[in-house]
Symmetry: C2
Subunit: 516 residues, 2 copies
Amino acid sequence: MNGAESLLDTLTNNGVEVCFTNPGTSEMHMVAAMGKSEGMRSILCLFEGVCSGAADGYGRIANKPACTLFHLGPGLSNASANIHNARKAGSPIINLVGDHATYHKKYDAPLNSDVIGLAGPVSHWVRSVRDAASLPGDAADAIRAANVMPGQISTLIVPADCAWNESVDPVAAQPMPKMPKVGDEAVKTAAALLTNGKRTIFLMSKFGVNENCVELADRISQATGAEVYCDTFNRVLQRGEGRCRIQRLGYFAEQATEQIKNAEQLILVGTRAPVGFFAYPNQVSEFYPEGSTLHTLASASEDPEDALQKLADELDAMKFTPEKIRLKKPGLASGNLSPRTIGHAFAEFLPADAIVVDEGGTCGGHCFNLSETAEPHDWLGITGGSIGFGLPSALGASVAGQGRKTVCISGDGGAMYTIQSLWTMARENLDICVVIMANRKYQILQVELSRVGAQSMNPRTLDMLDLSNPDLDFVGMSRGMGVPATRANTADEFNRQFESAMNETGPRVIEAMLDK
Amino acid sequence: MNGAESLLDTLTNNGVEVCFTNPGTSEMHMVAAMGKSEGMRSILCLFEGVCSGAADGYGRIANKPACTLFHLGPGLSNASANIHNARKAGSPIINLVGDHATYHKKYDAPLNSDVIGLAGPVSHWVRSVRDAASLPGDAADAIRAANVMPGQISTLIVPADCAWNESVDPVAAQPMPKMPKVGDEAVKTAAALLTNGKRTIFLMSKFGVNENCVELADRISQATGAEVYCDTFNRVLQRGEGRCRIQRLGYFAEQATEQIKNAEQLILVGTRAPVGFFAYPNQVSEFYPEGSTLHTLASASEDPEDALQKLADELDAMKFTPEKIRLKKPGLASGNLSPRTIGHAFAEFLPADAIVVDEGGTCGGHCFNLSETAEPHDWLGITGGSIGFGLPSALGASVAGQGRKTVCISGDGGAMYTIQSLWTMARENLDICVVIMANRKYQILQVELSRVGAQSMNPRTLDMLDLSNPDLDFVGMSRGMGVPATRANTADEFNRQFESAMNETGPRVIEAMLDK
């Protein structure tokens, strides 16, 4: 058994069953081993950033890692931005990066680069394999590292000869790391804060916004009057009918600081103190009131449900009945097509148990707000802020969701980053509806240009943020990659197209033409 | 004058006049300054890998750097693979990477990452600006570093507050580094080798394959019997009518080792000893005969023309008349469309002074071979081996070429990597014809799969290298990005379409449907 074959068996023995691939020559033995493996589903993507974004979406929904397969340093580089998003989400991924044979590296051939150096900034764990015999053991370490909660990025660099040389037996199924529980002190401190009479805010994210955690927070809120918020962008936010309400912190400083301006104490669960996505001239970076008390009940790597349960018990909050959201659809809107009218149709037709991937930028807010009382669904946010996340993550989330309807809300600018995702959606016949909000500009940047005080809104400057010359035709591009697509110019057209997309299965693009 | 404005003036004062941009919020003051600058042409790209590939092509043709503008670490990551290609080409680029304000960095906001760590592996020079007053001086250093011959990658990281705070005067035009000349010893050693009666091969690349250098090598060859070769992939190879002949080293070991199997001595100009692009089981990595003498006449950073001139003088070779290629077109082929018939049309219709960007993979060889005696043209190769190079580099080369017809030969797999390039070609109305050789598979990988001895050509394995499910429609995608496109199914159709593309101006895609 060669190294590649032992690697594959080690992966499948340990529950890794999907690989998002874009291989090259140095990965051919891994490709061959994958072709022989019964337990590994290989999903070809036309660009590595699609692979890594898909692995992010997969990890968030499956709660276990997929692997990726990349071609040396440049392959990893192409994947890197969406690995960044996954790293910020706490989404688990095992990157397999082929490299030159150990003895060939010294020649510095054209594709040679410092792969370890490239991997470091986006990975929690990096190792370059020394020889074929080490490969299964290294793979086992990579899998364990990826499974450290809430999820980590492992990057295993596999020189070609380590894959093709004779190796040793694969590593059998191994126990995965458990999420550590918080100590009593953290719970007692939180309980003391919640009973000292001061105004308290819960800020939660990562596993802290799972259904059960939000329900516990709701009970605690009823017992103590604390308000419950989540981060702007979350790994998976479970919401809609049957879930408890949670407020989302605004993106802009003026929104967020207003929301929590009265807070005297912040209790953090699976997140850190709220700060600006960006800095702005003459604006504060820290969004919480100066002098407020910060207390971490559970860090992102600690078990939030256990911590909240202990806190609820301590506060005698379990006697309260959680206030669960009742289904209330907003009805359809008509007239000109706008983010608001799209939000109405979205909330109206979103089916139960859907997965929503949000890269809607300036256009996604209405969909979020209007669907608070829609059918129950999972909401995946752009945790690392790097656009090009939406389409690939929807792809991976759909694979993990095994039949769950997936909706991707995307801006036009972001959609173009990893537009190649559409081809893999068609190839795998995934049940994904991509709604592209086409405003034909980087609207967020036109907003930001004025916000940062860069007072130069002259035509040349605005042209740098404009996508209308020439107009992008997403219907044509989608069909060119095998995905059926339609264009909606009015609210009524969108309503009909989105309804039919929700009632059919398979990949689908709707280009929503917004007024400029 | 704020930092961004002083940065822009420093750039334009020092001959940097084109910026390939994909900015975000942290770059808004640089965008505003660019909008006010008269001397900087800003070219918007829909993905950072397009920007960096364009800067590579621009640098090769303009022989001076363009700058790029990227959004924090993820923006740089997306650009990184094509920066790798440029680094291997010795192509000059100045990357401007926005970052969080210096005081905001510590909060580790979603888009925060180790930008210096990401930049290191792909850059020759990296600096993160400390304050607004340092920015113009740092920019001047970055420009000088990029201008170190044959060309280097400078990455200047600009925290947002360094751009928006008050700065100092811009740096005026400064002298750029000169290319050092080789010492007499290197010339004398080469002359001694060339007169000792042993079989000698010149291997040349980088500036060593400029028209003048190849002409000098031709004279030396006539004087001494030495043979003249170039690397497989070159920065800019000047060839066609009026130039002297140079043989290209084959890609595969069995080709290259056969070509130079009789060599006893290798004289290197602007390159290093030839080695395998990849390693293969039981094949040597070094392509030159064991025990042959290696001598570097001029390294990639040393002046090759001066060295070859001195050597020609030393050998009294200037008395020989260079044997220049006479125009001889191969005539058109008909019948089924194939890389060979495409090569005929390509060589027949390629206009004088064209720029050719080659990412043809397995399909590009015929175009190269058949155009040896075509009109004079420049040939740009995929120096770093990272696909996704072709379309963006053609874009940048066309901008630098200021009206020179540019032809990009691309495989279908490679074209999908940075397909967003088409939009910018349309936006800037660039005179580029993209020929996409559509064989609907990663053919090079199906070849490599058997070559590396990974004996598993089963359907599941081959499916991982297949692009036919679903078929990609490049005509639809191109039109969707505003570029006119046609499909050629026969040699005659291709002949007509390519001829008309060569006679018209503006962007154009021809999808050449090859037999599978």
